[in-house]
Symmetry: C2
Subunit: 350 residues, 2 copies
């Protein structure tokens, strides 16, 4: 014990060591680690080389980490509204609680600049690890987290092509499966209401899934109406109204999530359109709303609770220095409910 | 500047000063401030007297506070599920963001022991101030917060009878207003599905409101069927089913919130009962679910966004040392929608 302490005192490089080796001030080293965007590329490269050469790990080196463990984990979700992330985060928290870990959550309003501030705040407040949604963010903020030695688990989007650990599902494949069901019923005029693509890899993947299914049927994906709009019931309603003014109008509207789809169903009914008689509408997520709306939504069931629980166990292991080797892929299921039927005028209908 | 620093160095009492005056160790003083429940009453009284005599303010004295401001505020909500607290917290966060303040949220699963851990964690992680829901918590944790000099704003429950600042609405009066509408239609067999009373002053106040309205009509409030159950759609459904087995069965079921009411509406329909023809059902909150369910819920609209925004401004002022003098009472509105009608067999009906 005392030998270990001595070792860490004597062997761990300091901020001053890095500064000396890089030939800059300690303030510049700090800036490189905390706000790399504010430092010129050349200086930054020199400092980061020194950090690597010396094996410097600011504040939170392996040994220091063990000593400074705060039993606090942070999560940043895009929004607290509409319960899109609520069930998973609640399960994540309950599982962390079993390990005596307290969860602190921030919500970024789907804004990358806000999320970066929140990441820095959670790290500054001593979070042992972070749960983040999706992979889209600047290399600088990933570098910041790596420099600080803060383990990060990505949730909601499985991506085996990147080295960082993730737990999630295949948004593209799941949506392709749902879209294939829609097309199999004979729908050819397809509308897509998606969340905005910027900073949202899940939204982009889901639209790609619809396009995959169209191509598989020999259809041209560019013929689909596509509206991008932030997730809200009202925006889903407005997008549906806009789409229904097109000619030919879509006989099936595939929505990027349940919140948009619920708005679309309500607007269709307000316009006097039967769902699914005049227009089929589908969602994604299977949140509570999906079963409350009438008719209940055809959607993709995401195992939110299971994802939250498993994410908690993975992140606790990562903080303890035992990360899993592989990312975790969860399965989704199609929920075929009342809002999907054949297109109007189809054989089954006439 | 240097004069001020000197002043604070020379004049502010230290932990050691408190220990000397109380005749205990500094460890005991710390324990009194951080875990008062673990210290014998006599010792605690002596230490707290010394704290008061010396004007000691641990870590976060007025001057220290200004210097240590972290631009972080904490909020603890009972749950993230079902979006009950989501809209207010999202507005709270967006308003804090305008002041450059980052919000960290925890959810306590409606458990007081969990909430106490979370309060201590947020304070330990340097939260400048806290938003808490309702007034129910142990005197010890309020004392802990007072000792640490962390400003606390209570939300969701206005209570002018206590000194601590709150922003909210009158849960009891709001529910009494809704219940009066129900009784005015002629309902006499009343069911009440409430959240569990323990640790939830809002739930108790709402049931008291129903009882007030019954008494005002000369009815005996103890004749109402009352089921206490945690907030969830499923629990609301189960409670409705149980109630419908009573004889006489309620012609109107007043639910403690929209989540329970949505479950009750769905179960009524599953049982083949018309809403409101066979049974009227009401909610409280006016969350998104209330308008999505069919028929849409009669409920009490709570100004969640306005409450969140105003709470943010109040708490930022409190942290800056300029707290408002009075608690803030917000108005609620009745939303008379499709789930409330006259009782079966009434004049209007026959």
């Amino acid at each position: 014990m005392s030998r270990k302490n001595k070792e860490s005192e004597h062997n761990l490089p300091t901020l001053a060591d890095v500064a000396t080796r890089a030939g800059v001030s300690t303030a510049t080293v700090s800036r490189c680690l905390n706000s790399p965007g504010q430092v010129q590329q050349g200086t930054r490269d020199r400092v980061m080389a020194a950090v690597q050469d010396l094996g410097y790990s600011p504040n939170f080196g392996a040994r220091a980490l063990a000593a400074r463990r705060t039993k606090t984990i942070g999560a940043i979700i895009p929004t607290m509204e509409n319960a899109i992330f609520a069930r998973a985060i609640q399960a994540f928290q309950e599982e962390l609680h079993k390990s005596g870990v307290t969860l602190l959550v921030s919500s970024s309003s789907y804004r990358q600049d806000v999320e970066e501030d929140q990441i820095r705040t959670l790290v500054a407040r001593g979070a042992d690890g972070l749960l983040l949604i999706g992979h889209d963010r600047s290399p600088a903020i990933y570098q910041f987290l790596a420099n600080r030695g803060v383990p990060v688990l990505i949730c909601w989007a499985y991506d085996p092509s990147v080295a960082r650990l993730s737990i999630g599902f295949d948004n593209r494949r799941a949506m392709a499966g749902l879209a294939a069901e829609v097309l199999a019923l004979g729908h050819r005029n397809i509308g897509i209401i998606s969340a905005e693509f910027e900073g949202n890899d899940r939204a982009r993947a889901r639209v790609s899934g619809v396009q995959d299914a169209m191509r598989a049927q020999g259809l041209d994906p560019t013929t689909a109406d596509l509206i991008e709009t932030p997730y809200s019931i009202e925006n889903g309603a407005n997008a549906l109204r806009e789409m229904m003014q097109n000619s030919p109008r879509p006989s099936a509207v595939i929505c990027g999530n349940d919140v948009l789809a619920v708005g679309a169903v309500q607007m269709a009914r307000a316009l006097g359109l039967a769902v699914p008689g005049d227009v089929s509408i589908t969602g994604f997520d299977d949140i509570e709303l999906a079963r409350v709306v009438d008719p209940p939504l055809t959607t993709v069931h995401v195992p939110h609770r299971d994802m939250g629980r498993q994410a908690a166990r993975l992140l606790v292991d990562m903080v303890a220095g035992h990360p899993a080797r592989d990312s975790v892929l969860l399965e989704t299921n199609l929920c075929l409910r009342g809002t999907l039927g054949p297109p109007p005028g189809s054989v089954a209908d006439s």
